[in-house]
Subunit: 117 residues, 2 copies
DNA sequence: CGGAATCCGGCCCGATACTG
DNA sequence: CAGTATCGGGCCGGATTCCG
């Protein structure tokens, strides 16, 4: 008879998991883009509109970050049949799962600023 | 008569708070150092010992990261009266507060790796 | 032993120009 | 409108050397 033991993640696996998380949360733009999309759910969020409203981002960075978010299943990309074509971006259901994580970062960060001031 | 309204953190304040958190959690070494210290609470954790056991870190980085952690009240630095002198480092009570945050990063990261594989 | 100083490479990111 | 291409700066982090 086999004895099944639930394995804890090893320290190294945990560090990999943290790195995975920070790859999404750690950059300069991904979170800003996702927060913008999340605050404008009912609108058509075209590339140009996102670039206008996510302050300071260049087309190159926006393109690159959106592609990475799409690969990570956090946002969807939809080419609209307009002239000229427009492309809409939106958060996925799964993408919403980042926000509870960022919320803990916000809380710790706010508390930390109080602590060290 | 003044009306006092409890302010929510603005979007910009939240982004600052996240940046503050990532300044601690986002680098390559701070978390590894803190995890090591936390797993060896009852030992004397000298500079050299930490450098041996936190795999791959250079003296320059270890020195710099420890200084930043100390400034942020997350670790203590204690010069011991030995010949030659040794210096001990340890997590502060407050420093322990980072671990619940990293735990959420671990959980999201593990789940995310499942999701996109 | 516990650092500081210096040099250096990679890569994240910005600015600008161009394309379908 | 929705991107790509190219150039380049800044900064994080590595390697090496030196000091009290």
């Amino acid at each position: 008879m086999e004895i099944s033991i639930k394995q804890e993640a090893t320290c190294e696996q945990e560090l990999v998991a943290i790195r995975d998380s920070l790859e999404i949360l750690g950059g300069k733009w991904k979170l800003r883009i996702m927060r913008y999309l999340n605050n404008h759910i009912d609108e058509k969020n075209t590339f140009k509109k996102i670039q206008r409203e996510v302050e300071g981002i260049s087309a190159k960075m926006l393109s690159k970050e959106l592609r990475e978010l799409e690969i990570n299943l956090l946002v969807t990309r939809t080419v609209m049949d307009t002239r000229p074509i427009t492309v809409n971006y939106a958060m996925t259901e799964y993408g919403l799962s980042v926000f509870p994580v960022t919320e803990t970062l916000v809380e710790w960060g706010l508390n930390h600023r109080e602590k060290i001031k």
